[in-house]
């Protein structure tokens, strides 16, 4: 195996950029960018599994990331006994009714046929909906009025937040199964549109179902897997260490916290990368690529195209869900309003395309490069606008407008980068082997 100096050089260049930010701006900022870069890299690995391995277009990355985030809340926050007492049984009964309804509809769908089937499904659906609502509505009201300033939701399980990374992956996988079951096997743009739809609905639910996620009131103060800055600043051992290294104690503690996050995230990144590489180079990976490149031929060879697509779609979404849960862990809070399609769906796409679709290392590099410039584009854009408007009078309206709009430049920049890469180097920075 030859050593690929070009790729090593590109990762080296990326490391140099972090060093430059660390030396010129601050180490804390550099590490903060690094942490989000790692999470972005995992998300783009997930999308790469779907797009690069199998050619599936997922336009709902935002929704799967949000499902991961909600897992963070449900796993780690403390349960609220008063809310459970007020409406827990109602919620459970409502869910039971909903489950029975769905089971009855599924049964009717497979066991009946023709006009009776349509009639039965419609009737069961309507009746089941109203029965479930009759349990849900009073329970939801009761829960939301229980101490609504502090909680107003059911709370979570009070388990360690790192468990939510797995749970988040499972949630995302479940949603992916549902979407995939419906829209795979049809034209490829139907999957794109269906994922777009489900992601909008997931985020709308998170904003409105206050009993579950507190909605737009947000959940903050999620427990951390790493120590708190204040605790560290109190310990004498730590004080001595900061003094020895010649750092300010506040900055040193923040660096240590971010570094511990970075270590945890790197472990996840390496695990996902190892598994993805193993899968890609296995017979399974070769079969996936064969299906991607020629579905008809693969089907003629006896491969279950729809089944494989469903499998790979679920796996990719699960990885995105894991990354979403990690993001919530890093933020320490869950803010449904922060899930914007441009930030979560399209930016990840730019990462995958720029990095190199079909190549895991490419997806990681893409995640790092794109996130780095997404963050640093704001100061650069501002500087650029300042430069081209420096000839204008200080009170000029155009100058003020241009300076104010500099932030929107990065959307445009990302669009242009995506189009240019897609057209001129469709293989990306690190091409598929």
């Amino acid at each position: 195996m030859t050593i690929n100096w070009r790729n090593i050089g590109m990762f080296g260049l990326m490391a140099t950029l972090f060093l430059i930010v660390g030396l010129s701006q601050s180490w804390s900022l550099s590490l903060a960018i690094l942490n989000l870069c790692i999470i972005s890299a995992i998300m783009s690995l997930g999308v790469n599994i779907q797009w690069g391995y199998a050619g599936l277009l997922n336009v709902g990355v935002m929704g799967f990331a949000a499902l991961g985030g909600v897992a963070g809340v449900l796993v780690s926050t403390q349960p609220v006994p008063a809310a459970w007492a007020a409406g827990g049984s109602g919620i459970l009964m409502g869910m039971l009714c909903a489950a029975i309804t769905i089971a009855a509809i599924t049964w009717a769908y497979f066991k009946m046929s023709g006009g009776t089937r349509t009639l039965v499904i419609t009737l069961v659906g309507i009746v089941g909906y109203f029965i479930a609502r009759s349990f849900f509505d009073p329970a939801v009201d009761a829960i939301e009025s229980t101490d609504s300033a502090a909680t107003g939701n059911l709370g979570g399980l009070g388990l360690p937040i790192m468990l939510s990374w797995l749970v988040g992956g499972a949630f995302a996988a479940g949603a992916a199964w549902l979407v995939g079951k419906i829209s795979l096997g049809l034209r490829s743009d139907y999957l794109a549109i269906a994922t777009l739809g489900i992601s909008e609905i997931i985020v709308a639910m998170m904003k409105n179902e206050d009993w579950l996620t507190r909605g737009v009131k947000n959940v903050s103060g999620l427990p951390r897997p790493v120590p708190y800055e204040v605790d560290m600043q109190k310990s004498t051992y730590f004080k001595e260490m900061a003094a020895n290294w010649g750092f300010d104690i506040v900055e040193f503690s923040s660096i240590i916290v971010k570094l511990s996050y970075a270590c945890l995230f790197t472990v996840v990144l390496l695990i996902v990368l190892y598994l993805s590489e193993k899968a890609l180079n296995s017979p399974w990976g070769r079969m996936m690529r064969a299906i991607r490149d020629n579905e008809t031929a693969a089907e003629a060879m006896g491969k279950d195209v729809k089944g494989r697509h469903l499998q790979v779609f679920i796996l990719g979404s699960a990885v995105v869900g894991i990354a979403g849960a990690m993001l919530t862990t890093l933020d320490g809070q869950f803010t449904p309003a922060s899930y914007q399609p441009l930030r979560f769906t399209f930016l990840i796409w730019v990462m995958v395309i720029v990095g190199g679709s079909g190549n895991n290392w490419g997806a990681i590099l893409g995640g790092f490069v794109v996130w780095f410039f997404w963050i640093e584009a704001e100061p650069i854009g501002l500087w650029f606008m300042d430069l081209i408007t420096s000839g204008m009078a200080d009170d000029s309206d155009l100058r003020a407008h241009l300076l104010k709009s500099a932030a929107h430049m990065r959307l445009m920049m990302m669009g242009i980068i995506l189009l240019l890469v897609l057209r001129f180097t469709p293989k990306g920075l690190i091409p598929e082997k």
Binding site: L57, D189, Y190, M412, L419
Partner: protein
């Protein structure tokens, strides 16, 4: 009897008229998606942003006209400004086609490549729009607000419930009827329209019979830009202009196009109204209607609302899912114009 009429008036006022107006806006939007699908054979994710772009230029022109004291009296000035918006949108989409899509047509790229390119275009337009007009809410309606106000209606009929018919709703419905009639006349009666249908039906045969593909594609983009700007402006007049809402309206528009049958213009119109009416009907609170129809003691306590308005996207999505499960080709079997 009056109770029954009052109930009907409430339904008309809050369900039928808003449904018609919203359905018209969706239908115009879905027609644009369907035209591009029929000719270029991909789902254009940048369509919502095309609508927003045309609307933005309409708004800028409206402001210019307003500051010069030009208006149409009771009718919104935006209608006068619309041709400029349409022109801007046409230039934009033709420029995009030349710089982006033309290359992939030559390459005979696969569908997903087009989709990703259209995502990139969407990103680009989005930035452009936010850069020029900003992300905030803009209201640009002027002229008189109502064709019939609730009070006039009450005096006219003597009923308890008023029927308010907003100017913007009337204009939306009127303009849509004109646009749809013109489009169908163009597609079925003119030579160019027929060549477009032929191209959409069977590309190879159309090429053999000497139809110029570049011309067909160009006209498809022009028509799309016209429809998108009109749809966007009407939507903006009826609600308000906010770049973000044009990103969200993409889902109901796609749903409308697919429900009707992607590629079928009649389907797009039917789909638009199916989606709009289901959305309004499912999120409508029936409390007052039932209150008029049943004896007082039976009147419901809750709002009798099937789904909160925050979930209107879920309605388009649910219909989309049902269509994909039961009849993936849509109501009118799509694929051709």
């Amino acid at each position: 009897m009056t109770d029954f009429l009052n109930a009907v008036v409430i339904l008309l006022n809050f369900l039928v008229i808003p449904g018609l107006a919203y359905g018209s806006q969706l239908a115009l939007g879905a027609l644009g998606v369907t035209l591009i699908y029929g000719i270029l054979r991909f789902s254009n994710f940048a369509h919502g942003e095309t609508m927003a772009f045309g609307t933005m230029f309409t708004i800028l022109t409206t402001w210019f006209l307003q500051s010069n004291g030009i208006s149409l009296g009771p009718i919104p000035t935006a209608l006068l400004a619309m041709p400029i918006g349409i022109l801007a949108a046409i230039l934009l989409v033709l420029g995009t086609d030349r710089l982006v899509y033309k290359f992939y047509r030559k390459q005979k790229s696969t569908l997903v490549i087009y989709l990703i390119a259209s995502l990139g275009v969407m990103f680009l337009y989005n930035g452009l729009i936010r850069f020029i007009i900003g992300p905030d809410d803009r209201i640009f309606t002027d002229g008189s607000r109502f064709l019939i106000t609730a009070r006039e209606f009450k005096e006219m009929t003597g009923l308890d419930q008023g029927l308010a018919f907003k100017m913007t709703q009337g204009i939306t419905i009127g303009v849509t009827v004109i646009c749809v009639a013109a489009l169908f006349w163009f597609l079925t009666k003119t030579r160019t329209g027929k060549s477009m249908r032929a191209y959409s039906d069977n590309e190879d045969l159309a090429l053999l019979s000497g139809i110029n593909p570049d011309r067909v594609v160009m006209i498809a983009w022009i028509l799309t830009a016209v429809l998108a700007t009109i749809a966007g402006t009407l939507y903006g007049l009826d609600k308000s202009f906010k770049p973000f809402t044009y990103l969200q309206i993409l889902l109901p528009i796609f749903a409308a196009a697919i429900v009707g049958g992607l590629g079928s213009p009649i389907g797009a119109i039917a789909g638009g109204f199916v989606i709009a009416f289901s959305e309004v009907a499912v999120t409508f609170a029936y409390k007052r209607v039932i209150g008029y129809l049943v004896p007082e003691s039976w009147a419901p306590e809750g709002l009798v609302q099937l789904l909160s308005t925050d979930y209107k996207f879920a309605v388009s999505f649910a219909i989309l899912v049902i269509v994909l499960l039961v009849r993936p080709t849509g109501i009118f079997r799509g694929q051709t114009i």
